[in-house]
């Protein structure tokens, strides 16, 4: 018995502060947030009663919230699609062997070092929707190049405007996805390729049956990382457009509700966002936990 305590005691003591702090500041506050979202704390006044899921039903009945979800959907599709396509393409090209690979790697990775707010300020100007005489940014470049037909309203466009907001996000994170894929490519032993070629596989078949299956864990991690960043997007939108209806996503709506002192509503949006992220992340965690077990 005493021996048992000696075994698990000191390590537990060592991690205890972390457990307590995470318990309070992460899980405790998630709990507090959920409990506010179930109350009628819609103003500065303290909550008076438990209202169950009323706040959630009210939110999903709101045209404005649905609109913010649609915006988030468009943004996520383009953001994930763009980063995955460009990230893979760059990694593939680098893997094929280029001179000065280090230079290209850095060039593609550098945008990641910039914060969303800083790049948002620049892209706010690049994505200015004025056309003709007052055009600036990208529209101006198109005009100078004689490509006037390419000038467009960018994010001011109703409907697909959010795809324009995804541009800077893709620009920033495609390099990161490239780095992930590149390490994936490098992790595939040369022997496997050689063996496939010996067996008479065409280049396409080599990729389809040898390389892609080896890359799928990397692709999954990239998808999860980019996906959860996309769901939380806030700073980029605040920097480019501020919080306006046209580019509203749940995270910016949450902020608007908070500044209007509607605590219950903002807690509700926060909980919904947490659930969205959990839907993406939890299956991944289960998958990796199983994979680790199998390896043991």
């Amino acid at each position: 018995m005493k021996k048992g305590y000696k075994n698990w005691g000191p390590p537990l003591l060592l991690v205890a502060p972390t457990i307590v702090i995470i318990g309070i500041f992460v899980y405790g506050l998630i709990g507090a947030n959920i409990s506010v979202s179930l109350s009628n704390r819609n103003s500065l006044l303290p909550a008076t009663e438990f209202v169950g899921l009323d706040n959630y039903f009210a939110l999903f009945a709101e045209e404005r919230f649905i609109h913010s979800l649609q915006n988030l959907g468009v943004f996520t599709v383009f953001f994930i699609g763009g980063t995955m396509i460009f990230g893979f393409l760059w990694a593939w090209m680098l893997d094929k062997g280029v001179t000065a690979e280090g230079v290209f790697r850095s060039v593609f990775l550098f945008p990641m070092a910039i914060s969303f707010v800083a790049s948002g300020v620049v892209w706010r100007w690049l994505l200015n929707s004025a056309e003709g005489d007052r055009a600036s940014g990208l529209n101006r470049i198109f005009e100078i190049m004689g490509l006037d037909f390419l000038q467009n309203a960018w994010w001011s466009e109703p409907g697909w405007g959010m795809a324009a907001i995804a541009l800077p996000a893709i620009w920033q994170l495609a390099g990161y996805v490239m780095a992930l894929f590149l390490s994936g490519f490098r992790g595939i032993p040369e022997e496997l390729r050689e063996a496939a070629r010996m067996d008479g596989a065409t280049e396409w078949k080599l990729y389809r049956y040898v390389i892609f299956p080896q890359l799928s864990p990397v692709a999954l991690s990239a998808l999860i990382i980019v996906g959860h960043m996309s769901l939380k997007v806030f700073d980029l939108i605040m920097a480019i457009t501020k919080s306006i209806y046209q580019t509203e996503v749940p995270a910016t709506y949450l902020w608007v509700a908070l500044t209007a002192n509607d605590y219950a509503k903002s807690a509700t949006i926060a909980t919904i966002l947490l659930l969205f992220v959990a839907v993406v992340i939890v299956p991944y965690l289960i998958y990796t936990a199983r994979a680790e077990k199998r390896q043991r």
Partner: protein, 423 residues
């Protein structure tokens, strides 16, 4: 090896403790001479104005110690969040800045503000502030804040050169929105592509409220906020139609421009008009333009004789640790001397009607004159007319209209927002 490390660790810990008790004066409830004033005036002309105000305050109250609890950033949104958590923790500043009018509703309902009507009586403020202003800031017979500076939101800033070139007399304002639309068409036909400059969501809201005042008149407009005027009335529908027509004459990139970028279009001569609050004056001053020469202003067509006001004001918190000193601060703010010092620095006008107009620059003189004579109504875009949640809903409906131009959906949105707020 081990010892030096622990010494460094100890030194760092000590440093942290010392940093904790930093040198900025903190509020001490036992020191009756202190007054802690919470604002978001932390930079620019607002900071200069606050400093001028503090100087007058310290002259009038030599013993007083002013504690500046300003929170910078986000046009006050950071400050409001910080304030909310202080009020929540029952640790209120003695007095805090807030937009006068309906934006105070949440604090009033939460019982966080003291009634200042006796303060207004004792200092004779009910006589020197315009009656219609007092009416606007009175809630159920009580007044909860002291306005420090007044801005006007129904002003058209016009580029005289652009107008003269199109054969329009810049010095006479069109009589109403219809007449204005005729002029806008004339400008467009003369080759001015975007005669009316517009900016992001709140500037759209401000233009819309101007059209509402013009089409409904002061009384019915004020009724919108009390429930006396129905939102689904014919007048509101006309206003929406007018507003939609006005948008046809604006710059297409308005959703992405802040107000100063919109005003810049007028300065660049690419637009003739911009509807903006009178803080735009500083942009014209900086460009070196003179009033009634390169630029001129008039009340938005159809709103002549109406003063669409917004104001910063100061409150007295419930449970203020230094109540007497806070009242001294409010006295300074409302005094002729304090208001003059502050407003000359900030570029706004005093709330008092006994102001000597000749002390102020040309534009402010016109504003002071109108403020004394006109009917005062509350601005929607700046928190005077509707609670934060309500104006947020309206803002979102107007932002949607800016993208899809669906008049029926805007009307539905406005009616729904009013029902929710007045529910």
């Amino acid at each position: 090896m081990r010892k030096p490390l622990s010494i460094i660790a100890g030194a760092v810990a000590l440093g942290l403790v010392l940093a904790g008790c930093s040198t900025t004066p903190s509020s001490d409830p036992d020191n009756a001479n202190q007054v802690e004033v919470f604002t978001w005036w932390a930079s620019g002309s607002e900071k200069v104005g606050l400093d001028a105000l503090v100087k007058v305050f310290e002259e009038q109250n030599p013993d007083a110690e002013f504690i500046n609890a300003s929170v910078a950033g986000g046009a006050g949104s950071n400050a409001k969040a910080a304030l909310a958590s202080r009020l929540e923790a029952n640790n209120p500043p003695d007095t805090f800045q807030a937009h006068a009018g309906a934006e105070l509703t949440d604090y009033i309902n939460a019982g966080q503000l003291q009634d200042l009507s006796s303060f207004f009586q004792e200092n004779g403020l009910t006589d020197v502030f315009p009656e219609s202003l007092i009416e606007r800031i009175t809630v159920d017979g009580a007044i909860y804040s002291v306005p420090s500076n007044i801005h006007r939101a129904n002003v058209v800033w016009a580029n005289t050169q652009v107008l003269t070139d199109a054969g329009i007399d810049p010095m006479t304002a069109p009589a109403d929105i219809d007449a204005w639309l005729v002029d806008l068409k004339k400008l467009k036909d003369a080759g001015v592509e975007t005669p009316l400059a517009l900016g992001t969501e709140w500037t759209q809201m401000q233009l819309f409220e101007n059209v509402l005042i013009a089409d409904l008149g002061a009384e019915d407009y004020s009724g919108l906020w009390t429930g006396d005027t129905a939102w689904d009335s014919a007048g509101v529908e006309t206003a929406i139609a007018h507003y939609g027509e006005l948008l046809e004459y604006t710059n297409s990139d308005f959703a992405g421009l802040d107000w100063d970028a919109a005003t810049q279009i007028v300065l660049d001569g690419n637009a003739a008009y911009n509807v903006m609050g009178d803080w735009a004056e500083s942009a014209f001053q900086q460009a070196g333009w003179t009033y009634d020469n390169e630029y001129t202003t008039w009340a938005t067509p159809g709103t002549d004789g109406v003063f669409d006001f917004l104001a910063d004001s100061f409150t007295l918190s419930v449970g203020a640790p230094h109540e007497a000193a806070a009242i001294d601060w409010l006295t300074t703010i409302s005094s002729a001397e304090g208001q003059k010092a502050f407003n000359l620095a900030k570029g706004s006008i005093p709330a008092r009607t006994d102001t000597v107009a000749s002390d102020y620059p040309a534009y402010q003189q016109t504003a002071i004159k109108s403020f004394g004579e006109d009917t005062v109504v509350s601005s929607l875009a700046h928190g005077a007319a509707a609670s934060i949640a309500w104006s947020g809903d309206i803002s979102s409906a107007i932002g949607k209209f800016g993208a899809d131009r669906d008049a029926a959906s805007l009307l539905d949105g406005l009616v729904a927002a009013a029902d929710k707020a007045q529910g």
